[in-house]
Every structure is written in C-alpha cells, then in structure tokens.
C-alpha cells in the first residue's frame, strides 16, 4: 500500500470507527450499571432509523425535528423494553436477563419485518445531501467527462466529522452526568449493589429506566448517523453494527465509556486496514473483528481500559 492509500485507509477506518464508538457507548453504559449485555441495542438503533424515516416521509417533519423525535422515541422504546422485558426478572440469575435480551432482539427485528416490511428502503433523501459531502485535503482540479472535479487528495466525509464530534460530546456529557449529578450518583450506586442502593431510599427501577433511556438515545443517534453515511434501512441493519459495537465495548473494557470510544475507533481502523492490506481476505472482515476480540481478551481479559474484576473471597 502506498503512503497515500495508507493515509486514506486510516481516515476511512476513522470514519467507520467513529460510528462503532458512538453505538458502543450506549452498550457499555447499560453493562456498566446493570451487568447486562443488552443485545437489543442494535435493534433499537434500527428502530430509530425507521422512526426518523417515517417522521420525514409520512409526517412531513423537517429533518432536524424528525431526528430529535426519533431519538426521543428510541429512548422511550429502550425504557419500555426495560419495563416489560427486564424488570420482571431483575432478581433472576444474570443468564436469564441475557437470554431475554436476545429474545427482545429477535422480537424487534421480526416486528420491524411485519410493520415496516422486509424490503430495504432508501434513506438518501431524508437528510440534507450536504452531510455526505467530502472534505478534501490536497488533490488537483481536472476535467473528467465534461465536469470539473478534484482528483486525488485525502477525503473524509462531513458526516464522519460530525459523528466524531457527537461521540466527544457524548463522552463529556456522560462523564458529567455520571459523576456530577444526583441521578448519576444513584447510577454508580446501583452498579455497585442494587439491593443496598434500594435500601438507601433510591428508586432503583427509575434509575435503571433512565440508564436504558439514555443508552437507547445514544443508539438512536448512532443509527441516524449510520443511515446518513450508508443510506439504506432494513430490519436487520442493526445486527452487524450492534455486534461490532459489542466487540468494541468489550475490547475497550466493558463498562468503561472512554474505553468504548477507544475500542470503536481501533476496531474501525484495524478492520479497514486489514481489508486494505489483504484485499483478498475482505470477505472475512467480520470474522476478523471477533478474532481481535479473542486475542485481546486472552491477553487482557478486562479490555483496554476496563478495571480488573476483583474477586472477593
């Protein structure tokens, strides 16, 4: 790979990784507080995109309003899923909650097939096209096929820059929220010991509901940004991004918000680099992501920024 392609691939990876990072934040948050791997995260991501699509096409709302409403709906959906599916088994063994999460994931996917139909839809005209313009550094003006275009240069989509900024804002916001507010303090308390926290007079269900709402809102933001970058929507679109975000979260140390961002970026960059270096193995890129996960976990079981689990005897 020549240096220019290497640099371009690094930027391509950053663009993909920023999306993984954003989705992974929500994943890791729920895990950090509940010790629950919420497999339905990717499907809330998908639902949010459908909400945005219908707010624009059916309700004829302007795109920014549609985005805000879709994110709010995603938060509400996350909250409802917790109330209906996870709350009744709060005291059951952790594996029951995990299996329930997988069930919720299948339920949401099938619901989307029934309600929205299984045909992939275009998301291209929903949001302003200018979001998908490229920032071009370097390159020369040339006339190709009767049009003046810029040839060469390192290219980065505007939407990916926005994604990076949103991820940074989410990072700072969550730090403030978790460490500087009353609800955040309650969340941290819940993450340590649910029963003791409830004895201290904290409404645990409300705190957990808040966590789900916040995590799902982040999934919604991630979903909409994803659909702007890759403009098609279908019921199973959340599966692979959800899985990758899960890998990113575990990779960075599940439960750690900065770890999720770091994990997402590293995963995106290595994935794209791997395809760039070995184009013939591009069909195995998803397998490669899981392979990295196995290696990282065997060297550092708690992930890059995760705290090692202290086993009390």
């Amino acid at each position: 790979m020549d240096p220019k392609t290497l640099l371009q691939n690094f930027v391509n990876g950053l663009s993909l990784g920023s999306l993984y990072a954003l989705i992974a934040i929500g994943y890791t948050m729920v895990y950090g507080i509940l010790r629950l791997i919420n497999f339905a995260h990717g499907d809330i991501f998908m639902m949010a995109v459908y909400f945005a699509l219908f707010f624009v096409t059916l309700a004829q709302l302007p795109w920014y309003l549609a985005a805000i409403l879709a994110i709010a709906c995603a938060a509400l959906l996350g909250f409802t899923v917790d109330r209906i599916a996870y709350k009744p088994i709060r005291n059951a063994p952790r594996i029951s909650a995990l299996i329930t999460a997988i069930g919720v994931s299948f339920f949401l996917e099938s619901l989307a097939v029934v309600v929205f139909s299984g045909i992939p839809r275009s998301f291209r005209t929903i949001f302003p096209q200018s979001l998908n313009e490229m920032i071009i550094i370097g390159g020369e003006m040339e006339v190709k096929y009767g049009r003046e275009v810029i040839v060469g240069g390192i290219r980065f989509p505007v939407i990916s820059l926005i994604t990076l900024i949103v991820a940074a804002i989410a990072l700072v916001f969550l730090w403030w929220f978790i460490f500087r507010t009353k609800v955040g303090m309650a969340m941290r308390a819940v993450s340590l010991d649910i029963q003791t926290t409830s004895l201290m007079g904290v409404n645990v269900d409300r705190v957990i509901g808040m966590t789900f709402a916040l995590g799902s809102a982040l999934a919604g933001i991630g979903g909409i940004l994803w659909a702007i970058r890759y403009p098609q929507v279908w019921p199973y679109m959340g599966f692979i991004p959800g899985m990758k975000a899960f890998v990113a979260a575990v990779f960075g140390g599940i439960g750690s918000v900065p770890g999720a961002v770091l994990g997402g970026l590293i995963l995106g960059i290595t994935e794209v680099m791997m395809v760039g270096i070995m184009p013939a193995a591009a069909g195995y890129r998803d397998a490669f992501a899981f392979f990295i996960l196995i290696i990282v976990l065997s060297i550092k079981p708690s992930g890059l920024l995760g705290r090692p689990e202290i086993v009390k005897v």
């Binding site: 371009q8 839809r121 291209r124 390159g139 290219r155 098609q232 279908w234």
Partner: protein, 367 residues
C-alpha cells in the same frame, strides 16, 4: 347459524381446492434481495390475472417467502411440495437460493422454473430445474464486451461478492472474455450485507482502475457507487442484471448516474412479441408506470409454466416437468423462449444505462 357458516366454509374451501391447480411461487419477499421478489411477484400476479385458467381449471399461485436465505430456500421448497402439494414451482430468484432449493425439487421430481437465476450451476446436471433467462457464461461475455469494446475501459476492478454464487461465476466469465479481448482485470472482494467499501474502493483507485465492474446485487452496487464517487473515482461503473431494480437509483442517487448494466429486458426496447405488448399495456394500466425487468421475467415464468401444464395435458408433476423442458419458441415478453436439454434458455442481453435517475435502454447484444 354458526354451524351453518362452518359447513358453508368447509364446502367452499373444498370446492375451491378441488377446482384449482396449485402452482408454487418461491420468492424473496423479504431480506436482502426483496426488491427482486416483489417485482417478480407483480409479474406473476399480473399474468395470473390475464391468464387465470389452464385445462379448464383455475390456477392458484401459492406464494412462499424464502427471506433471501439459502436455508429458507430449502425449507420453502419442501413446504411447497409436501404440504401445499403444488404441481410445479415458479422460482427461486437469486442463484444461491435456486441452487439450494433446486435439490429438493430434484429429489421430489417437481419442475422448478427460475425467472432470474443466471448461474450455470442452477441447472447443471439437473432434470427438473430450468430457467427462462440467459445464463452467466453469456452475460459475462456481454458485460466484458460492453466494458472493453463499447466503453474502451482498460484496467477493470471487479467487485466480487464472495457469498453469492451468481457474483463469483459472473465475475469469472467476465474475466475470461476480458483476457480474450486483451484487457486486464483485478478482483476486490466483499460479502452480502457489507456497508463499508471504502477500503476496497481506495485499493482499486490506488491500483489505477479504469472502470469498476460490480457483478453483485443492488444494495451493494448502490453503496459501492456512492463510496466510489465520494473517494474520487469518476470512471465508468458497470453492473449486471442485479442492478435492474429501482432501488439501485433510490439508494444510489447521483452516484449511479451513468451506470451501465447488462439485463434481460427493458420496457423501452422494441417489443418482439404480442405478449410483450400486452404485458406493457396491462402493467401500465394497473400501476401507471412502465414495468421493470424482473416483473417481465415473473410474467414470462408464469406463462411458461402454464404452457407446460397445457401441453402436458394433466397435473402430473413428472409430465409437467417434461413439458417444461420441451418448451420451444414460446413467444414471451422478454424474447422467444426455447428451453434446451440443459434447462437453459438462450436469449439476448439488453444494455441499459441510468440517466438522470431513470433507466434508459441502450442496445441489445445477441448470442
């Protein structure tokens, strides 16, 4: 009152079951290539409305959805044959599904007629699986002629979907002809469902690709085209019949303008038969727009199956399967269909271009 209703219902159901011939239609109505299934179903439905009877009985088309999935392709074929008791099957749509589901048709001796599976393996060594479309050895030649002769491309990057038999086969036939024509090609790989192709596109650009050839399906074609244009690739992009659905334009937008692809039929091409005229008129009257390629293929498959039942003179599965293979000079929408001893139809390839967000018929390449 209730009892009476139940009795009436039972009588009605058994009468309607007796007086109809069941034909299965196994199509991807959901999943990655649902657009093909939806369009083909429109064609089958329209043909069923226009020609509802054979041998004096009504034809009932039983629609089964295979989810665009290989495993479901087998399950639905089994369901059609064992539970629904169909006399013949229209389907399946993409090659990998027809290859998987075709084994069930083969074991049970039921004719399976595919509207659109172009991979040679679909009918190879099969007695019961046939198709009404051309196959990829010829589509590959046509696409390579388009790329190297008509468009003068030199070094072509071929994007191969490693999960699809169609894409792998089509790419190889393209390459064979490309080498014969003195051109050079190199492969980039991806798999169905991938969203990010920036690494492959950057690699192809750095290797000096003079054109992209994407022998895959529309979702990926549109995304590759978008990302290619974003990363500064302005040379021609060429695809196969996998691009012949409106979704290519809906998802791809600006990026697919100027895209050329090889396909089975275009409503803008000169009508060759009475059926072609009838089809375009009936479709336009019903939907208020011009029909698509796959709708035409669905229409044709229904007609070919109906014609086979008529010639067989009975609803015996074996006799119908034989009659399908003896289809000769049938005047269908997409051309004159003759199914040879291998189960293949020899047909010409249409070249279509996307211009200002519309499909525009370009030329026809004859075998």
């Amino acid at each position: 009152m209730r009892k009476l209703f139940v009795i009436l219902l039972v009588v009605f159901l058994s009468v309607s079951a007796l007086a109809s011939i069941k034909v299965g239609a196994i199509l991807p109505m959901t999943g990655g290539v649902a657009a093909f299934g939806q369009m083909i179903w429109q064609g089958v439905e329209l043909a069923n409305e226009l020609f509802p009877e054979v041998l004096g009985e009504k034809i009932e088309v039983v629609l089964l959805d295979n989810n665009s999935d290989k495993v479901q392709a087998v399950n639905t074929a089994r369901r059609a044959i064992e539970q629904e008791g169909v006399v013949a099957i229209i389907g399946q749509v993409i090659s990998s599904n027809t290859i998987a589901g075709g084994t069930v048709a083969e074991d049970n001796g039921v004719a399976m007629v595919s509207p659109s599976s172009t991979n040679p393996l679909v009918t190879q060594d099969k007695k019961y699986v046939s198709r009404v479309c051309f196959s990829d050895p010829f589509q590959g030649v046509a696409a390579a002629m388009l790329a190297f002769n008509n468009m003068g491309a030199e070094n072509v990057a071929v994007f191969v979907d490693v999960e699809q038999d169609y894409a792998v086969g089509f790419a190889n036939y393209f390459k064979e002809t490309a080498i014969k024509l003195g051109g050079s090609v190199f492969y980039e790989y991806y798999k169905s469902g991938d969203q990010d192709f920036t690494a492959q596109v950057s690699d192809a650009i750095s290797k000096g690709a003079g054109a992209f050839f994407i022998p895959g399906y529309y979702q990926e074609i549109a995304l590759i085209a978008i990302q290619a244009r974003q990363l500064g690739f302005y040379e021609p992009i060429i695809a196969g019949d996998g691009a012949a659905v409106p979704e290519t334009i809906e998802i791809g937008g600006e990026a697919v303008n100027g895209l050329y692809f090889t396909t089975h039929y275009d409503a803008g091409s000169p009508a060759v038969t009475e059926n072609a005229k009838l089809f375009v008129e009936a479709y336009t009257a019903k939907y208020g727009e011009a029909p698509g390629t796959f709708t035409a293929l669905g229409f044709d498959t229904y007609l070919v199956v109906r014609d086979a039942i008529e010639r067989a003179g009975s609803t015996d599965r074996e006799a119908i399967a034989k009659a399908v293979r003896q289809t000769k000079d049938y005047p269908a929408v997409t051309g004159i269909i003759t199914i040879d001893e291998n189960g293949d139809a020899i047909k010409s390839v249409a070249i279509v271009k996307i211009e200002d967000g519309k499909f525009v018929y370009d030329t026809t390449i004859n075998p």
